[in-house]
């Protein structure tokens, strides 16, 4: 033992000391390292630890519903899930991870990369929307890959639902992800992926409809599973918005216009309330609520009939003979002619050395001796050619604009088109040439460069029918906007001075259009309802070309604008059929809407319509109440 383990030699002290120093130095380095983390960078790491465990999950506020005037739902919500990327949970997204996520969620990898790049500069705690309207497959992918992709989170959202699908789609508009330029706007509280109204009422009243998203602060574990709730900020739902639209009339108009391309606008000329707004061909706004697929989008965009256009306020077309009401008002008001002034119509007339045809030329017997009443009733072109020459372009422009044509009505919808009333100044500015006298003759029958929108036509004729008092068309009730804290647009009535005689002559002409023999709008005649109106057939090319070319592209635009009752108008309807060929196709549409209006008003009351029943009972019990307040019950038109 002693031989194997001799005890005479001990380890040199310097070596032990050396080892002690090595140990001491190492521990000092360690302590410095821990000091730097725990004291020096404590704030940073505390923040990181909090972000690790706390997730701020948005609670999406449901958008307010859109209702018709009777409270029937036009736009609603339904619960769905969206997939969000919680970027705090992952330091870096490698290309493989991005590809994996794209595969799992069936997203285009390029698009996903683009989304990530766009959102790279946002604070990391803000989730990034990867996919709206997650399918069942997406949901199961996220749920089953919690470990592999803890950064994916499912958020309950309220998906927009348009129960009537294509009905009033152009009016209601659609919602979609907020465009970047809107986020970039100063003071914008929007985040990428937020849903906003992009068109129509949804865009116009986005502020009212959109609520304020809430937030849930939750504790998650390393696998992204929620293990606790810290605090909740409740979401503030958006406000419901009641429109002036009457769904019953809207449905009647939609059905009546059918497959034809065109628009129908019905206004209450007493208030300017829009009762109907149809634009065909339509689209299904539900397709926009989830991310619309590019193919469908391209189809909508390349359709020559422009389904995404609200033709009621955006289609700018020649009004054709509807414009004759403006002409008639101008000649009577200026005293250019008296109501019994006679023009002899031989089917054509030569003015400024050029032969102008009447629409009956070669088709029907000529009008013969025509006064203004007959000229309106039978839409005599020769009469108004003559009037145009006598008036001159400046007076025509003055009256057309005065009656509300060629300018935006100011309706509370985005992207209203102004239309155009050509004037010498305009020709000089745009075409750099002097006004040709012959152009005045074309303008006189609503052709040439004259362009109007359906809502303008309804507004103008409604104003004339009301004796020169024009009410601005609007789709939202003023008092409701005020109650919601919005500043309602000024819609105080605008009066244009027209003498009573002029009004009477115009109205009697329009009455004759429908109700007298030879009237162009006889098809609008309706038992029990006294409808007045004016037809219009506007060529899009010269008559010779129209006849030679069989293509439907060159077919004329059909117009009819009608109102009822004749004495105290309650509804004015402008119907437009693009490529309708003849105004006769537009007449029944306006008639159907007017009929639906009176059927609803006079017909058996639906049991839920208690207000009107009450009003009627009240009117019988207490005749002292002014009949104006009891309008729905009054039958005296």
């Amino acid at each position: 033992m002693e031989v194997r383990f001799p005890s005479d030699e001990r380890p040199p002290a310097w070596k032990v000391a050396f080892l002690q120093y090595v140990i001491a130095a190492s521990f000092l380095v360690l302590l410095v390292g821990y000091w730097r983390l725990q004291i020096g960078q404590h704030r940073l790491y505390l923040d990181l630890a909090e972000r690790n465990r706390i997730r701020n999950l948005p609670v999406i506020a449901p958008r307010g519903r859109i209702l018709d005037r009777d409270g029937r739902v036009l736009a609603d919500n339904f619960p769905a899930f969206s997939v969000q990327l919680m970027r705090e949970s992952v330091a870096d997204l490698s290309p493989e991870r991005v590809a994996g996520i794209a595969r799992g969620l069936q997203l285009d990898p390029e698009e996903l990369r683009g989304t990530l790049q766009r959102t790279a500069s946002l604070p990391r705690f803000q989730p990034v929307l990867l996919k709206q309207a997650a399918t069942l497959e997406d949901i199961s992918f996220v749920e089953s890959h919690r470990v592999e992709y803890p950064e994916l989170e499912l958020i309950q959202v309220q998906q927009r639902l348009y129960p009537k699908q294509q009905v009033a789609a152009a009016l209601l508009g659609y919602v979609g992800e907020i465009p970047e330029e809107m986020i970039a706007k100063l003071g914008s509280s929007y985040r990428p992926g937020d849903v906003v109204g992009k068109f129509g009422v949804e865009a116009q009243y986005n502020r009212i409809l959109s609520g304020r998203d809430g937030m849930r602060r939750v504790v998650v574990n390393s696998r992204g599973q929620e293990v606790g709730l810290l605090s909740t900020i409740n979401a503030l739902p958006g406000n419901d918005l009641r429109l002036t639209i009457d769904l019953d009339l809207q449905m009647a108009a939609e059905a009546s216009l059918g497959d034809q391309a065109g628009a129908v606008v019905a206004l209450d000329p007493r208030t300017g309330e829009v009762l109907v707004m149809v634009s065909h061909p339509s689209f299904d706004p539900n397709d926009f609520a989830k991310r619309i697929d590019p193919k469908e989008w391209n189809e909508l965009m390349s359709d020559p009939m422009k389904p995404l256009m609200n033709k009621s306020i955006q289609a700018q077309l020649a009004p054709g003979s509807v414009f004759k009401i403006v002409m008639a008002a101008a000649v009577l008001e200026t005293g250019t002619v008296t109501p019994d002034y006679i023009v002899n119509c031989a089917g054509a007339v030569t003015i400024y050395g050029h032969l102008y045809h009447d629409w009956v030329f070669g088709k029907r017997p000529v009008h013969g001796a025509v006064n203004i009443h007959k000229a309106i009733r039978e839409s005599c072109d020769v009469f108004f050619y003559t009037m145009g020459k006598m008036l001159g372009i400046d007076k025509i422009v003055y009256f057309a604009r005065g009656l509300g044509l060629g300018a935006r009505t100011g309706i509370d919808l985005p992207s209203e088109a102004p239309g155009l009333i050509p004037s010498p100044e305009w020709v000089q500015r745009v075409f750099k040439h002097k006004w040709y006298a012959g152009e005045t003759i074309s303008v006189a029958i609503g052709q040439g460069s004259v362009a109007v929108t359906p809502v303008q036509v309804a507004h103008t004729i409604g104003g004339v029918a009301m004796g020169g008092v024009f009410r601005q068309p609007h789709v939202a009730f003023q008092d409701q906007l005020r109650a919601l804290g919005e500043d309602p647009p000024d819609i105080s009535p605008r009066a244009f001075p027209l003498s009573e005689d002029t009004i009477a002559a115009l109205k009697s002409g329009m009455w004759a259009v429908v109700n007298e023999g030879g009237g162009t709008g006889g098809a609008a005649r309706c038992p029990e309802i006294e409808i007045s109106g004016k037809t219009g057939t506007a060529q899009v090319v010269s008559q010779t070309l129209e006849q030679s070319a069989k293509s439907s592209e060159y077919k004329s635009t059909a117009w009819f604008v009608g109102y009822a009752p004749t004495d105290k108008p309650e509804i004015v309807v402008a119907a437009l059929v693009i490529r309708g060929e003849h105004s006769a196709v537009a007449v029944p549409i306006a008639r159907d809407v007017i009929k639906a209006y009176f059927d609803k008003k006079l017909g058996p009351k639906p049991p839920d319509n208690q207000m009107e029943t009450q009003a009627r009972v009240l009117s019988q019990l207490r005749p002292a109440i002014p009949p104006k307040q009891l309008q729905p019950a009054s039958n005296g038109y």
Partner: protein, 356 residues
Amino acid sequence: MSDIDWFLLGLALAIAAIGVVEIYSTTLHSPLAGQHKRQIYWILLSCVLALVASRLDYHMVLEQTPWLYGGSVLLLAGLLVAGHSIAGTRRWLQLGPMSFQVSEIVKLIIILVVAAYFADRRTKAVTWGDLVKLGIFAGIPAVLVALEPDLGTALTFIPIVAAGVLFAGIRFQHIAVLCLAGILALPVGWHFLRPYQRERLMTFVHPRQNTQTSSYQVTQTKIAIGSGGFWGKGLGNGTQSRLGFIPVSHADSIFAAFAEEQGFVGTLLVLLLYFALLLRLLDGAQMAPDRAGAFLLIGLAAVLFFQVVLNTGMMIGVLPITGVPLPLMSQGGSSLLCTFLGLGLAMSVRARRYVN
């Protein structure tokens, strides 16, 4: 009873007790809840064995070295051939209800081998022959352990041999040649590393890459430690460990969980305890009655030092991640038992010190 080094034992028990508390805290309300009780039983058992070992004459133990060494090599080889795999590694020897990590006891045996080898070598400096022999003695079990695979434990054999050689005396030429050989062997060694081991090394070199796997671990332990701050978040309040952001927060990563909950104050306390423990061992080495005892203590101090520095260093990213438990603190009976056995032998050496 005065022969027992109560100071050393007290330090070890203090560290182990802190470990128990932290294991309790980090496994509470988790599927691993109750692990701290098993740890206490292991500590009690280890403590008894350490006291028994302290009563033994360490010379007697050293005489058994050849048998112990031969047996352990056979056991390691047997494990590789017939051992059943737990989580992809064959480290565990099943003994009835208990499983035991053989490589831990091999660590202790390597200490004995080095001590026994140098006990009767009286040359001023080691020769190439000594180096080759020791290299083979330590190399065979090291390769077997590395094949389990358990590179971390295999690495711990290196400081034992290195400390022994250093104390036996080594020429600078030898050191230079060994260093050169080591550098040349690096590419070869890289070839033998498993993918996850390579990744860990690469993560250490380039911490910004590989965020999701091994660098994720370092990031998360750093967040845990840094967020602890000066006073810590308090017992049971470590969100990083409790919510699973730190992997194996009760075992290899226990120090990160501890630093999160007890802050820099706790870190300082535990590192001081380890420091005192190591100095106590070196102190014992200086007073050892013979070379054998001195080498035994130096080997033990070297391996404990290596493990403590490696483990706590990798938590803050100054050293690469290797699966090395923190001696005395990490949950796990094998490591605990072997460490206490080593401390028992250390007490045995100290009991026979020269007293002037």
